[in-house]
Symmetry: C2
């Protein structure tokens, strides 16, 4: 402890820098230990906001009878943080990790005027929420985008890929990307195709609750993501998020296999067909399946993308004219069909016309888990006869992202199709799962 | 045993009616007991096809040295089957259950010419596969549709609802509907809205493997469905399918909450937000939550539907012009947005134009589990300001079916919206789940 004080310490406490660790004892002898976080507009005067070690925030009214002690940790600087490891002072210093920010809940705070959430506008603000970030080694923070993830578009993906490449080239051993959860899965798939050979981990991470909410998962998700990014163990794009309701178990999902499967739960992310690639539990990284090894040498970005593709989900009552209008000017269309990859027979005509004008039509399943197979029912055989390409157990969203990437690389439809059906970045099981049919 | 024979019994065996139970002992003394099922085109001459009690089928080559004994069960007649309960001769005779067939895998067989599966064309063929169906009481079978479920359209739903109504009026205590799994969830939702007051259970059931495959789930699913339909315990539309890989545990899903979540697994059906309503285990029906009680009196069909609605899934790169072309002539559009119910801000303009011409726009989440909430992020607040209706934790597919039903009942947009947001048939939790936010 550096300092203790009694009496009315408000003027001293309000002057503390964000991220300062402090121990507060109130007039009734109750004690809190936490780090100072920004004052809320609505929390009123003489209220100190603390983030506790549990991840919960409290607002403490400061007046006569409250005492405090400053604890020994210095304030983390906003960039290139290098403070000594607090929790484990003997630990070796880790390699530098890049933290690319894009906006989203993990970098948002409650706006007390609207009751909603707004993006954190500065890197300083972000690091105020995550004072532990650099406990095990340096973290170089770099804002790349600043928006909610529903506003991220395919044109943003190469920008992000370039920022990843740049981070590795400038010495990072791993890269963490803080991203809104809404379209995090799409971005993870895009980076998997755009960055085929990686010298280290690229870990996408998000939060389902903003960092100034008591139950925020941002702090623990980010710590787990940084831990994995520092591990050197893998050379692929993954997503790290809560694996369950516990605060110390995180799933590692392959970038091409992951999907947000709940609107609010902290364990919203799943790999529907295969399950996660591994877990992070109590600082241990445990692999369920072998991840891809790092690839020596600097990475390159395998662009461009052609955004001229579409993803269409079939349903009973979808009018063929509607489907045709939706896809009429697209070079490629991924269908999310029913079951093993079916659409109503009334759709064969527009699909034939799309093929005739040179479009590529790929089939996935709206079940989201399991593979498509055109050879079980007459509908599938008819669709294959028209030239529809069946895409195994690829997620519809991943197949769509892969289509944009394939269209960006090839003019010829057959070559686009060949790229689609070739397994890349673990997106597609080569063999049909044994349990599929007897 | 009625009869035993030795020598070369082929001519006698080939003349046995389908469904006859027989015990075969081959030249090496191995013994099989099963019921005679139709001969396969490719299994060759002198091969008897038997369905064993395990559910597996075998093809036995019949020649000199094979002996057989006919067992005592009579052949089930194709309609209004009334044979005595074989497994439990002392059991009370159950009330009559109607079995409505619509096509799909549960009523399909392997076509050995193509290697694919084709629908069973006659009721006789169906009952040949399911000789145990009427073991506990009479089953009145009635073909209503004959097609793979990807070809079922909204116009079929009222036809099926009328057949359910007719079955109850003519004395059935419960109704089972055998349906292809691909769009079974849509049909279950539609019947939930079309049949608001039911005097007994309406149980949709399907199979993920055709009944002549060794691992077919059709037989056990159908038996569980008939058991529930006979129970008198509920007055709502449910789906019964395998709950796991075991052969004797079945989930009971509410018709408005269920979705096919795997293309091939037998336990493909899930209720993503709430979990199943109950289970059937070893002939016991166990409820997790209280089902709706039967409603006295004959049911009526609460039609019509207006098929002039659409379901559109948002994704990064969806062009606003594409979305507008898709929905331009629709009276209503359900969006499957990201996360809490978002689309990119570039889509606000066409949504405003759709609202201006009187269309209803409803928001659900493509996460499939959890609720939407427009008041957390600016995007949601903007969409509400434009007039988009947030639909809680309704599944996108259920919301789309409900939209067609609401459009069929109301001309005025506000009245359509009011129907959409009113919980019906358990489709929508009235309160936001506690776990959603702190």
């Amino acid at each position: 402890m550096e300092k203790a004080s009694a009496g009315d310490p408000w003027e001293e406490l309000r002057a503390l820098p964000m991220g300062r660790e402090v121990e507060i004892t109130d007039a009734d002898g109750r004690r809190w230990i936490g780090t100072v976080i920004p004052h809320h507009e609505l929390s009123g005067d003489r209220v100190l906001q603390l983030k506790l070690a549990s991840g919960y925030n409290v607002g403490l009214r400061i007046g006569p009878g409250v005492s405090y002690r400053l604890r020994s940790s210095p304030t983390p600087a906003p960039v290139d943080v290098e403070h000594p490891a607090r929790s484990d002072p003997g630990a070796a210093r880790g390699d530098p990790v890049a933290l690319l920010t894009t906006g989203g809940t993990i970098a948002s705070r409650v706006d007390y005027e609207t009751g909603g959430v707004r993006p954190v506008r500065t890197e300083t603000e972000l690091l105020e929420f995550y004072p532990d970030l650099a406990a095990d080694g340096p973290v170089h923070a770099l804002p790349v985008l600043d928006r909610l993830s529903e506003n991220i578009v395919p044109e943003d993906w190469p920008v992000l890929a370039e920022a990843v490449r740049g981070s590795f080239v400038s010495g990072s051993r791993g890269v963490v990307i803080a991203h809104g959860t809404d379209t995090l899965g799409f971005t993870a798939a895009a980076l998997s195709y755009l960055l085929p050979r990686l010298p280290g981990p690229v870990v996408l991470v998000g939060a389902q609750r903003s960092p100034d909410r008591p139950s925020s998962d941002g702090r623990s998700n980010l710590a787990a993501a940084v831990r994995l990014a520092r591990s050197h163990e893998i050379g692929e794009v993954v997503v790290v998020m809560h694996a369950g309701l516990s605060d110390d178990r995180f799933a590692i999902h392959r970038g091409t296999r992951v999907r947000k499967m709940h609107s609010t739960r902290r364990d919203a992310f799943h790999s529907p067909t295969d399950g996660p690639l591994g877990y992070i539990e109590e600082r241990e990284i445990r692999w369920v399946r072998a991840p891809r090894a790092p690839h020596p040498g600097p990475p390159s970005v395998d662009g461009p993308l052609d955004p001229n593709g579409a993803l269409l989900w079939f349903y009973p009552g979808l009018a063929p004219a509607q489907a045709e209008a939706f896809a009429h000017d697209r070079r490629g269309i991924i269908l999310a069909g029913t079951g093993l990859g079916h659409v109503g027979e009334a759709h064969l005509d527009w699909i034939r016309r799309a093929m005739d004008r040179g479009a590529v039509v790929g089939m996935t399943t709206q079940c989201l888990a399991g593979a498509v197979d055109p050879y079980v029912y007459a509908t599938g055989r008819d669709l294959v006869r028209e030239g529809v390409t069946y895409l195994g157990d690829m997620l519809p969203e991943t197949a769509y992202v892969k289509l944009l990437w394939a269209l960006g690389h090839e003019r010829d439809g057959n070559r686009v199709r060949r790229r689609l059906v070739t397994p890349i970045a673990g997106d597609l099981s080569e063999r049909r799962p044994v349990e599929a049919f007897d």
